[in-house]
Symmetry: C2
Subunit: 213 residues, 2 copies
DNA sequence: CCGCATCCCATGTGATACTG
DNA sequence: CAGTATCACATGGGATGCGG
C-alpha cells in the first residue's frame, strides 16, 4: 500500500485511504440501510465485479468500518459504530451529487438501497409535519419500497404493505424530487405509473421529498 | 467512461463520478483554501504524478467543480460555486478520518493547505469566544501558517506575521489537537518546538482546536 | 445456490523524461 | 513554469470456476 499512499498526515487523506477506493462508499451506503449479505450487496451494486466486492469487504473490515456478523448460518455484513458515523457525510455528499444529476442514461438503474438513501437525503421533516400521515409503496422494477411518513418521522422498509399510493417508477422519479417534473406530468408521460390510489398523492410525495437541482 | 460507470442513478453515485477518483478530493481540499497554480498544487500534493494532476484538473473542470482563471499572465485554478459547496462535506469527511489517524508514518508530512483544512475542521468557535484573541505562527518545515483567533472567528493565512506564539511542528501536532498529547509533553518531547513566545499558549491552542479521536 | 477465488485483458496510475 | 509523452505496472472489470 506504500505506493498508493498519499503521503500526507491529514484527516481527509486518512478518510480517503479508508473508504476512498472505488465502490467502497457505495457499499457503506447500502449498509447504512441495514445489514446485507454478500449476494445482496452484489445485487444492489450490480456492476461490481465479485473479486472487487470481496476485496473491499476485506479492506473495510480491516479499516474498522464494517464487520462480518454470522446470523444463524448466514453471514451478513454490517457497519461498525465508526462506520455508521459516515452517515451524515454520505447524506451530504449525496445531496451534493444529486444537484448534478442530469437525465438518466439508458443503463442507469435505481436500486432499493440507493433510493432509500436518496429519499433520506431529500426528506423534509418540517414539511411532512404539516401533512397527513401517508404511506407510499414504490416499485422499482421487481423491488418494492414501503415509505411511511408520519408527521416529521420517516420509515423506509424494503417490503410490501398497505399504502395510500402505490406507484411504479424508474430513474426519472428523481426529476420529480428535484421539482423539475411536476407530478401530473410525470404520470402523464409515464415516468411514474400509478398502480393504486389517487394520483394526486404524488404531489404530496413531491413536497415531502425535495432536493433542489 | 461507460466501462467505469457505476450504472446507478443516484446522488452519491453521481458525486463519486464527479470527484470520486484518486486525488480529486485532495485537489478540492487545497482549492478550498484559495486559488492555486498548477505548481502550487503539485507541491502541496507532493506525491501526485504530473500527468494525473493534469488529468484531474481537466476532469474537475469538465465536471463544473473547478475553473481555470487567468490572473495577469499566470493561470490559477479555483473552485466554482458548485465546487465550493463541497466544503461541509470535506470538513465532515476530514473530521471522520481524523478519528482514525494513528501515529504518523515516517514519510507522512503535513502541508500548509492540509493543515489549514484540519484546523478549520477542529476549530471550536464557542470555546474560542471565551478566550483572549491570540495569534499563532506555525512552521511546518519551510512553510509558515499565520493563525489568528479573535473571539469566534478564525483567520488562517499562509504568510509570516506577528504572533503571540511561534512554534515549529511536524505531523505530531495532530496528537495535540486530538488531546492525546498534552501541550507541555509535546514541547518536552520535541513534537512541538517553541520558537518565540510563552509555551503555555500552546494549551490555549489545544483547547481552541480540538477534535476527539 | 452462496460466498468467494482465479484468470485474463482493458484501463488507470505512477515515475520519469521531455517540450513550448 | 505548466503542462505532455512515454512506458512499466497495479488495479479494475468481466467471465468463469469451485468448494461448502
Amino acid at each position: 500500500m506504500a505506493a498508493r499512499d498519499y503521503g500526507q498526515y491529514c484527516g481527509l487523506t486518512q478518510a480517503l485511504e479508508l473508504v476512498g477506493e472505488r465502490w467502497a462508499l457505495l457499499i457503506v451506503r447500502d449498509l447504512l440501510v441495514g445489514p446485507r449479505r454478500y449476494g445482496e450487496l452484489a445485487e444492489g451494486l450490480h456492476r461490481i465485479p465479485s473479486n472487487i466486492l470481496a476485496a473491499r469487504l476485506k479492506d473495510l473490515q480491516a479499516a474498522g468500518v464494517i464487520r462480518r456478523a454470522p446470523r444463524s448460518r448466514v453471514i451478513v455484513y454490517e457497519l461498525t459504530p465508526y462506520g455508521r458515523e459516515l452517515e451524515p457525510v454520505i447524506l451530504a455528499f449525496g445531496a451534493w451529487g444529486f444537484k448534478a444529476l442530469g437525465d438518466p442514461r439508458a443503463e442507469q438503474i435505481i436500486t432499493p438501497d440507493s433510493m432509500t438513501m436518496d429519499l433520506r437525503t431529500a426528506f423534509r421533516p418540517q414539511v411532512a409535519a404539516g401533512l397527513p400521515a401517508t404511506a407510499y409503496a414504490a416499485h422499482f422494477g421487481p423491488a418494492e419500497l414501503l415509505i411511511r411518513v408520519d408527521g416529521p418521522t420517516l420509515d423506509l422498509r424494503r417490503e410490501e404493505g398497505a399504502a395510500d399510493l402505490t406507484f411504479a417508477a424508474g430513474p426519472g422519479i428523481h426529476r420529480v424530487i428535484s421539482g423539475e417534473l411536476a407530478a401530473e406530468h410525470a404520470i402523464a408521460t409515464g415516468v411514474v405509473t400509478v398502480l393504486h390510489g389517487r394520483g394526486e398523492l404524488l404531489n404530496r410525495f413531491a413536497s415531502t421529498f425535495h432536493l433542489a437541482a
